[in-house]
């Protein structure tokens, strides 16, 4: 988890969330669209790219139902028109900005939701008890804060640094006859 968080999550999810939040804040919607395209192109394994896109799309629709935000509505419309792909980190930033959440809190909350869902997957898929799952989540809290803090100092040039071993695992997962979680 720590390895995944300090690399993949930090330089993709956390940094994307920060950049999206800053774009929304300063009204740079062209750049936000570019970020959406970049995130989609950065996901080389098809299953990962498609899974993320589907989650992003559903999350955007959900947020459009929950909140009255013209920015979220625009993003949903752009997804429908295939002008953007839809990415969870961008939707999260849109929702956080709408709720006037602080940028760093938004990044930390986004990391938390990713870590939480992975642990829940593990609770369901491997022999890992609910309590143990919660213990892991609790133990990872300081790292979530640390990454949220560090995200401020990252540059856009560092976005989407891939881990080759993880990518290969994701690619090989596509060819397995049985798959449990697309996320």
């Amino acid at each position: 988890m720590r390895m995944y968080m300090t690399n993949q999550m930090a330089y993709t999810d956390a940094l994307a969330c920060r950049l999206a939040y800053e774009d929304i804040e300063s009204g740079r919607f062209d750049h936000l669209r570019e970020l959406d395209h970049m995130l989609s192109a950065l996901a080389l394994p098809k299953e990962t790219r498609e899974g993320t896109r589907r989650i992003g799309e559903r999350m955007a629709k959900l947020c459009a139902d929950l909140y009255k935000s013209p920015f979220i509505d625009t993003y949903v419309k752009q997804i429908r028109q295939k002008k953007v792909n839809g990415h969870p980190s961008i939707v999260f930033a849109l929702a956080a900005h709408h709720l006037q959440a602080d940028k760093k809190d938004a990044i930390a909350a986004h990391l938390f939701s990713g870590v939480h869902s992975l642990i829940q997957n593990a609770v369901r898929a491997v022999p890992l008890g609910q309590t143990d799952g919660q213990r892991i989540l609790l133990a990872l809290q300081p790292l979530i804060q640390e990454i949220a803090e560090r995200t401020e100092t990252m540059t856009e040039e560092e976005l989407g640094m891939n881990m080759p071993g993880l990518e290969i695992a994701q690619m090989r997962h596509e060819q397995l006859p049985v798959r449990l979680f697309m996320s």
Binding site: M3, L44, K46, E47, N162, G165, I168, E174
Partner: protein
């Protein structure tokens, strides 16, 4: 900032034959006269006259293939990156491929020695109907301590645009620390990394079914994954413990593609 080495070339169609019309090189980069293994299609070997890359070096390559042109670009030997105490080495390449052209880029591996920092950025613009094969591999050099992975970091970016739309963005960053690169999700106990990207109308619908068995042959020598890009292109990632394994896999895939393009197989290696 001054450029350590520059290379520019343009391949054009003259009847059935592709000729390298414009070649310009400066500084540490040179190209040998194109070799025609096949009558119609040149193979160009680029070379570094300085023997290796050192701190602060900057290199740039421009490649243009006009409509219908076919060309293979390779290197005469591995690119060696030595220690870079003050500034990293930066290498960039821009490739522009017109409709119906076919460009194959099959360089020797990059060898990064102790305390080397290396960054490369490749941008490929292609028109629909062009064929691209791009390969790359990275190798840790020998270090005084005898342990591999003493380079500081390697950052490699590749952007492939088709009709002006970004279709693939590969961002590889290898930075070994105490345990880092040997771990799960990173290099997973392997030392060498290789990548291959293919975009071609001739790739066909069922390429995954053809490629699977081809790559399976290397299961005990390498860890390999492949997947489909946004524009139906192909991406392959390879981890292995020796350069020759990655080279062999890349060559096998190159010749697999060449057969689809009605081109004869190539044997590029020079040693």
């Amino acid at each position: 900032m001054s450029i350590t080495g520059t290379l520019r070339m343009k391949a054009v169609c003259r009847g059935d034959k592709t000729v390298v019309a414009d070649t310009y090189f400066d500084g540490a980069f040179k190209v040998a006269r194109p070799i025609y293994f096949e009558e119609s299609e040149p193979t160009v070997y680029s070379l570094h006259v300085g023997g290796g890359y050192v701190g602060g070096d900057r290199y740039h390559t421009d490649v243009v293939l006009e409509q219908g042109a076919k060309m293979t670009l390779t290197t005469q030997s591995a690119a060696k990156v030595y220690k870079t105490p003050n500034a990293p080495v930066f290498q960039s390449m821009n490739v522009s491929l017109a409709q119906g052209s076919a460009f194959m880029y099959v360089p020797d591996p990059l060898i990064a020695y102790e305390r080397a920092r290396f960054q490369q950025e490749t941008i490929i613009h292609m028109e629909k109907g062009a064929t691209l094969l791009y390969s790359d591999s990275m190798t840790p050099g020998w270090s005084e301590s005898g342990r591999p992975f003493r380079y500081e970091w390697i950052r490699s970016k590749l952007k492939i645009y088709e009709q002006g739309v970004l279709q693939a963005y590969d961002h590889l960053f290898l930075k070994p620390d105490e345990h880092g690169l040997f771990s799960l999700m990173q290099m997973e106990n392997y030392t060498h990394a290789g990548s291959l990207f293919i975009v071609s109308p001739q790739l066909g619908q069922n390429w995954q079914e053809e490629l699977g068995p081809l790559l399976e042959l290397y299961d005990n020598q390498a860890r390999i994954g492949f997947s489909e890009l946004k524009n139906s292109g192909c991406t392959i990632r390879i981890l292995a413990n020796a350069s020759h394994v990655i080279e062999e896999i890349i060559l096998k895939c190159t010749n697999w593609l060449r057969a689809k393009l009605d081109q004869k197989p190539v044997l590029l290696r020079k040693y």
